[in-house]
Structures are given as C-alpha cells and as structure tokens.
C-alpha cells in the first residue's frame, strides 16, 4: 500500500439529523491516500447518508469533513471535481448508449473532446465493455451497468472514488469480477476508495480498513485482520430451539470467553474449539437439550459485529427496515 500519510478524507464529528432521527451520529475517521476504506453495517446504519454528505449531495447538520483537502461545505465544487461516485441505485440513462453515457459525463466534467475520444474506449475496455459501447444501456445486465458506472466514475480521473454498495444485487461471479476491478484500479491508479457494504466477505476481502457502523455510530475501526484477531480463538455456532438454556449451560464452562444469543443461535467464542466441542454436545445431551446444527469457524467480521452489538447484521436488517422507511419519509419532508 502506497500511503504517504496525507489523509485523502478527514471527517470530524460529522452529524446528520432528519428531524429527531439521528442518521449519522458524531462520526470521525480519516482515510489515507491509496487506501480502500470500508463502511460496514446493516441497511439504515447511516452509510449512504455519510457518503452523501462527503459527496456534497446532502448538507451535514454539524461537524466537518475535508475531501482531498477541500471542505465539503465551503469548497463543494472542488470536492466534486476530486471525487467519482458510483451510487447505490443505478444512475445511467438507459435510452443512451454506453459510449454516450460516458461522453455525457465527460462533458459535464469539462473534459476536452480529444481526451474524451481517447479515454472512453480505454475505460470501456478496462471494465470489459469495449464491444458494447454502441449498445443502449437498457439492453445491459445488472453487472454490466455497474461496470459501466464504475468506468464512468473514473473518466475524470478522480483522486477518490466512492462506491455505495457496489455489488448489491449482483450474482457471485459478477461480484468476484467487480472486486478484482476495484482492487486493480486501487493498485494501478492509486485511487483512494471509500465503499459501503453490508456484505462481510466484501469488506473482509477488499478493504484495508473497515469501520463498523451501526445506528449512525462507528463502533470500531481497524484492519479486518486486527478486528478478527481482537476476538481471537474460534467460534462455535449452535442452532437450537433451546438456545437460551444452552447459553446458560455453556456459560458455566471456564474456557468460554464469551457467549451470545441471537435469533435461535448461540455463538460461543473460545480457544481450541475442536477440543471442547464434544464436551458441549455431551453436556447438552445430558441435560436433554436438542441441538439442530453446530459449526466451528474462525472469527469473521460478522462475529465482530455480533461481539459489539449483540446482533448479527442480518437480524439488524429486519429491525431497521422500519427505520429505513422513516428515513425515506424524512427525506421527502425535507
């Protein structure tokens, strides 16, 4: 990682309220040049709101942020020139061809014609769409559209690229491809990236630094490896109808580091799981408790999230759906 320690983005106490709902709550972080920074959290956690403020689409209620050294409140135009953005929802004109979408973007960013002619085919090639430049976007698949949006976001050579849920709704193969593109871009062009995601594996695989965000607050922030190491040991996950009894039973063992109950699952953090798993099964059997399934794994970012919030991201999603609806309503009122 070529990071010369100049922050590409610096955020201090950024807050956004929608009436009495605090969507982003006093968030601070900084991203070094050349890093891939991930905001990981469930829907409605405030990821998109954060990105919207940093890209000057949305005004912050309080706090400040510098993007490429420019203030998001005082230097909006400079901020906009410094960034490329791939929105969560599609933002292409389907009635235009891929090339025309790129060309439109180039004109908006005042890129001279000669340069546009040179770079657009190059970028289309970079994302594997060189054959489809003249096709209307409405004939494109979801993955192709995403790739086109990434290519478009790069046309004006931004220093920083924002990716809001870049692989949402894509099939695994396309996701893998996109991850490769993103990593290659980061490496070859040294573009700083900030991406939001609610996919654990995406954050784990792509990001140099992950900030876990929940209900508008950053809970913890570090390299994915450090985050997982901070939990340490192994995880045993037990699915059962009697999960609460199993939890109290397991908690009595001295070698259990921590034990969380969520949604019919007991997740146990311990050292040397292979050694203790039999003991757990035996004692639950003895107490007449029924185990539906059991698995052992190394801690993942999901476990990190669970550790800090007591919930998994998936559970969070169901409960935050109402919050999201509220969110939309707020936007409308505003």
């Amino acid at each position: 990682m070529n990071s010369n320690q100049t922050p590409a983005i610096q955020v201090e106490n950024l807050t956004r309220k929608f009436d009495d709902l605090v969507a982003v709550d006093n968030v601070s972080f900084s991203i070094n040049t050349g890093e891939i920074f991930g905001l990981l959290g469930p829907n409605g956690a405030g990821k998109t709101t954060t990105i919207s403020m940093l890209s000057t689409i949305l005004k912050a209620t309080s706090g400040m942020a510098l993007v490429n050294g420019f203030s998001i409140t005082k230097n909006q135009s400079e901020v906009r020139k410094s960034i490329g953005i791939v929105f969560q929802d599609q933002s292409l004109d389907e009635e235009l061809t891929a090339y025309e979408n790129m060309d439109f973007h180039g004109r908006l960013y005042r890129i001279p014609k000669v340069e546009r002619r040179e770079k657009i085919p190059d970028l289309l090639k970079l994302v594997g769409l060189e054959e489809r430049g003249k096709s209307l976007v409405k004939t494109f698949s979801g993955g192709m559209r995403r790739r086109l949006e990434i290519a478009r976001g790069l046309l004006h050579e931004p220093k920083i690229l924002f990716l809001d849920e870049p692989t949402l709704g894509l099939d695994p193969q396309t996701r893998n491809h996109l991850w490769e593109y993103i990593q290659r871009l980061n490496r070859d062009k040294n573009i700083t990236m900030i991406l939001t995601t609610h996919y654990m594996d995406e954050a784990d695989r792509l990001c140099d630094i992950v900030a876990i965000i929940d209900q508008g607050k950053i809970i913890t922030m570090d390299k994915p490896k450090n985050l997982k190491d901070s939990i340490g040991g192994d995880m045993i996950s037990i699915e059962s109808a009697d999960s609460s009894q199993i939890k109290s039973l397991v908690e009595s063992f001295s070698w259990v580091k921590s034990c969380k109950l969520h949604n019919g699952f007991v997740t146990i953090n311990l050292l040397n799981a292979e050694k203790h798993v039999a003991e757990i099964v035996n004692s639950t059997n003895k107490s007449g408790l029924f185990i539906q399934s059991i698995s052992i794994h190394k801690p993942t970012l999901e476990d990190v999230f669970l550790h800090y919030t007591g919930r998994t991201i998936r559970e969070e999603e169901t409960s935050s759906r109402d919050q999201m609806r509220l969110h939309r309503k707020m936007r409308r009122i505003r």
Binding site: S55, I57, D89, L92
Partner: protein
C-alpha cells in the same frame, strides 16, 4: 455554455430516438384537427377569417401540440429523479442553473419540432400561408410557448416525488390552459366574463401570435401577445430555476 449544450443534446437525442413518442404525441392534435376541422368547417364560420374554421383552429392545434410536448419534456425530470440519472448530473461540478436552462432549451426544442411537424402537416390539410415572413412569426411564438411551459414543467417536477400527480396536472392545469386559450373558438364572440378568463391564460397570447403569423389576422395585437407571452416565459424560467435549485434527491 458547454454544460447547457450537453443537457440540451441529451434531451434532443432521446427525443429523436423515440419514434413512438414523436408519432404518439402527434395523435391527439391531429385527431382534434380532423374531427373539429372537418366536422365543423361547413357549419361554423368565424368572422374576419377567410380560411374557414379548419384554417382558424390550425394555429390553436399547433399551440396545443407545443404545449403538451413542452410540459411533458419538463416533467421528465421526475423520471430522471426516479431512475437515478438526476444524481449523476447534480453531483457533477456544474451549477443547477446550467442544468435547468439546458433542460428547458432541450424541452423547448423538442416541443418546437413537434409543432413544426404539425405545421407542415397542416399545409397538406389546406392551410394557405398569408406570407412567408408569417412562418417566422409563428416560429417565434411556438418557441416561447415551448420555453415557458417546459420551464413550468421543470418547476412542477421539482416539487413532485413521482408520476402519481401527473393525471392531476393534465386534467386541472394543462387541459384548462388549452381549453380556455381560444385555440378552438374565437375569443371575440365569448360572453364578457369568459373572455376575461381567457385573457388570463398565457396560451391565449401564444395561439393569437401564431394565428397572426400564419393567417395574417388575430383578435389580439401581435405585439401585445409578444410582450405578455415573453413576460410569462421569463417568469416561468425564474420560477423553474428557483424550484430546481432547491430540489433534493
């Protein structure tokens, strides 16, 4: 200027590409022209207008087609909002005024083309031009109608979340504007109170202006028409720009 041109270009490209839209929006004006024109031509005669009732309503129908196309072009911003494309434009380092002006000019252009096609078709239906310079006068008024009502469409679209209110706007704004404009009846023969209402309809001045250009005769002095419609256009552009500036996505 580059930015205005870019937005304009996108609108015109999209328009030229959608053949169904071009043909589709000719349907209603042509229908009016044929049924009213041929249906009433032999029973209605308008004082001072030598070209019969068909000749009389041709300018009105042209104005109608420009009106509908331009409002529609302005309201398209709602689709850009819903399909996300507006974000792409709003996050670029350009001013909203440039975007709004580009959108208005683009919409006015497509509406003008729509009116122009109808004008050419009218020549086939027996419109006889009083003089060639009249063409240019008619063009001028068609452009003003296009600009003002695209701007109004942008203003409405800036306030609307989705297309649900579209029907409301069609029925309670656009149709009354068309119906009260004297497009299909001579305003001079209206009872006083109704005539007063038509005088508040900006389209009346557009119709009268086009009528003066194409037929050489009109109820309202063409200079007055120009001043009123011109003023309305400026007001609408200011309103549209102001509301578009505040748009949130």
């Amino acid at each position: 200027m580059d930015i205005v041109y870019t937005i304009w270009l996108r609108n015109v490209k999209r328009y030229l590409r959608s053949k169904s839209r071009i043909i589709g929006s000719l349907g209603m004006p042509l229908f009016f022209l044929l049924t009213l024109g041929f249906g009433l031509n032999s029973v209605v005669s308008v004082p001072r207008f030598s070209q019969g009732y068909t000749g009389f309503i041709i300018p009105g129908i042209i104005a109608m087609s420009v009106l509908f196309s331009s409002i529609f072009a302005g309201i398209q911003i709602i689709w850009d909002k819903q399909f996300g494309f507006l974000k792409e434009t709003l996050v670029a380092p350009v001013s909203r005024l440039e975007i709004m002006i580009g959108q208005t000019l683009g919409g006015a252009t497509t509406a003008f083309i729509q009116g122009f096609i109808l004008l050419v078709l009218s020549l086939l239906f027996g419109l006889i031009l009083a003089r060639i310079s009249g063409f240019l006068i008619a063009f001028g008024f068609m452009l003003l109608i296009g600009l003002s009502f695209t701007a109004l469409g942008v203003a409405i679209a800036s306030k609307m979340e989705d297309m649900h209110g579209f029907q409301l706007i069609m029925n309670f704004l656009i149709f009354p504007i068309f119906g009260l404009s004297g497009a299909i009846f001579p305003i001079d023969s209206l009872p006083g109170w109704l005539k007063a209402i038509t005088m508040f309809d900006p389209l009346t001045y557009g119709v009268e202006g086009i009528r003066y250009g194409l037929l050489g005769v009109s109820h309202i002095n063409p200079l007055l028409s120009l001043v009123v419609l011109g003023g309305f256009t400026i007001a609408m552009i200011i309103l549209g720009a102001e509301l578009f500036r505040k748009i949130s996505i």
